[in-house]
């Protein structure tokens, strides 16, 4: 379906990475699919550092970002890490689900130093605690901010305080 397939180098290394991960992680690799030029691997939250360490050893040295996704209907958060291999030009996304009522996931700043700020951001926006992170403080938000703005139940006030002017007049 995707009109642009990833380059040949990326393709082979994605399959390689997938098989490597399968061997090394075993059952812990819950799911691995290739989608739009990236490998999406799903692991349990406690295997997150291990998976990323493996990926780093496999050449995925560029830590792109980490973010959270809120799925209130399924009562879970997704923690998504994205890494890139400058040698093979391949991208891997690592996902882990954490329960919404106790979102805890181990930190990866020992693997990728750059995860520091991204995890802090995810923590303050979603309330996902990165266990072992030494500086889990507000990064972008002010200290007095309460609540976790990126959760789906946090209302964007700009859209509430003022009536929508696009409402068609009646009469």
């Amino acid at each position: 379906m995707s009109p642009s397939a990833p380059s040949a180098a990326g393709k082979t290394s994605l399959t390689e990475a997938e098989s490597e991960l399968r061997i090394l992680l075993g059952d812990a690799l819950l799911d691995a699919t290739e989608d739009h030029g990236q490998l999406i691997a799903r692991v349990p939250p406690d295997r997150r550092p291990e998976t990323l360490a493996l990926l780093k050893a496999l050449g995925f040295t560029f830590y792109s970002f980490c973010f959270g996704v809120d799925w209130p209907d399924e009562n879970r958060f997704e923690v998504v890490d994205h890494v890139y291999s400058p040698e093979d030009q391949a991208r891997v996304t690592v996902k882990c689900d954490v329960p919404r009522d106790n979102p805890r996931v181990p930190t990866v700043i020992n693997v990728y130093a750059g995860a520091d700020w991204h995890e802090r951001e995810t923590w303050e926006l979603f309330g996902i605690v990165f266990a072992g992170h030494p500086r889990l403080r507000k990064l972008l938000l002010p200290d007095w901010q309460e609540g976790f703005p990126m959760r789906k139940d946090y209302v964007l006030r700009a859209r509430v305080e003022k009536p929508w002017p696009g409402e068609f007049f009646s009469g």
């Binding site: 009109p3 560029f62 990728y112 750059g114 972008l140 200290d143």
Partner: protein, 382 residues
């Protein structure tokens, strides 16, 4: 101690620690001439020497990811111009590509090429400004004016085509808004020629200048592995000596069709980062020339209307903007608005390496290093 830090604000904690040690904590920013907006750097100084420094962000956080969840693609492109206002067009394109790829829309070739032309013009404008502004960081008062002047030529072209200098909002899902206006082609080659002479001038003006070299050579050295670890991207990463460039690696906008080099540096210091950008301007000129040559006739838009819904799915699209890897991780559930949109901006990751770079430097080097990363605060805070 750890619990202390968790409960107290960050700055309070640092100040308390400092009361004990007696080092001086210098707050550079958020209102300071050299932080390009409202970045704040808390530096612990021992005389002129920086023991450690920590950027403090968030003074410009506008919750773009939250805003994007309430907006249709058309509204989002207008929003993303404001991420990094120095290179507005470069921010809206990757988002459009993400939506197009999810929907399986084939963008007409003419639109692709036009996007490339505008993209590279924006890069020229952005780098031209950097080349000037960096002089100001080092205390030379004339270069920024040259930078602003030079940038204006590329922005003139953008204005002629899109109607605005910076917040272009020109890319649409499935193409661009309109074709170029009459007389647009004729105006490009002289301006490219101008930029080439400018590049020569920057070489004379700053790169040949001994004081400039003294201030930048060997300052803020960023090794490749650290840069990759922190996700530093774009010219900053390439200056460290590794040719990572999304234009060569990803298939977007048909960049594969153009012949251009990806210049890299070899030391990764401030000087290399400066030369890197000067050199990339040259390559941008080449790309625009090639794009002009093979601009095919035809439609420029597939005519996706305002009710366009992004099909369900998830995708990550990255593009090589002037500030580094600019990517959008789009998770859609089939609505007009994205379910979740992660905006990966170059500046955020680039600035996250500052604590590493600023360690054990001198106070003036803070400014030199900050400037050489070429960040825009809107791009950091989003």
């Amino acid at each position: 101690m750890a619990t202390d830090l968790e409960t107290k604000g960050y700055i309070t904690a640092i100040t308390e620690r400092d009361m004990a040690t007696g080092d001086m904590v210098l707050n550079i920013g958020p209102q300071h001439p050299s932080t390009h907006g409202v970045l704040r750097v808390v530096a612990r100084l021992d005389g002129e020497q920086v023991i450690s420094a920590e950027p403090v962000l968030g003074y410009m956080h506008r919750a773009f990811e939250k805003l994007a969840e309430q907006r249709s693609p058309m509204q989002n492109t207008a929003l993303f111009n404001r991420l990094d206002w120095v290179s507005g067009f470069c921010n809206e394109v990757p988002y459009c590509i993400a939506c197009e790829k999810l929907a399986g829309i084939e963008v007409p070739k003419r639109a692709q090429v036009q996007r490339v032309i505008l993209f590279e013009l924006t890069r020229l404008a952005s780098h031209a400004m950097f080349c000037g502004i960096y002089g100001l960081e080092l205390g030379a008062l004339t270069p920024p004016m040259y930078g602003y002047r030079d940038r204006e030529y590329a922005l003139d072209l953008l204005e002629m085509c899109t109607g605005q200098r910076m917040h272009t909002n020109w890319a649409r899902i499935g193409g661009v808004k309109e074709d170029f206006p009459e007389g647009f082609y004729e105006r490009i080659p002289p301006i490219l020629e101008y930029y080439r002479t400018r590049i020569e001038q920057w070489l004379e003006f700053l790169i040949d200048n001994d004081i400039f070299v003294k201030r930048t050579r060997g300052i803020g050295v960023l090794p490749v592995d650290v840069a990759l670890d922190y996700g530093v991207s774009g010219p900053n990463l390439r200056a460290s000596g590794i040719a990572v460039d999304a234009r060569k690696e990803e298939e977007y906008l048909g960049y594969m069709d153009y012949e251009f080099e990806v210049p890299v540096g070899n030391r990764g210091d401030c000087f290399d980062r400066y030369v890197q950008r000067v050199r990339e301007m040259w390559e941008s000129c080449n790309i625009i020339e090639q794009a002009l040559d093979d601009l095919p006739p035809g439609a420029i838009n597939t005519g996706v209307g305002r009710t366009f819904k992004v099909p369900a799915g998830e995708i990550y699209i990255r593009a090589d903007g002037p500030r580094g890897e600019n990517g959008y991780y789009l998770i859609s559930t089939g609505a007009k608005e994205p379910y979740r949109l992660k905006i990966r901006t170059g500046s955020f990751s680039n600035v996250s390496v500052l604590p590493y770079l600023l360690k054990d430097t001198y106070l003036p080097d803070i400014v030199a290093i900050l400037g050489s990363l070429d960040f825009v605060v809107g791009d950091i805070d989003r």
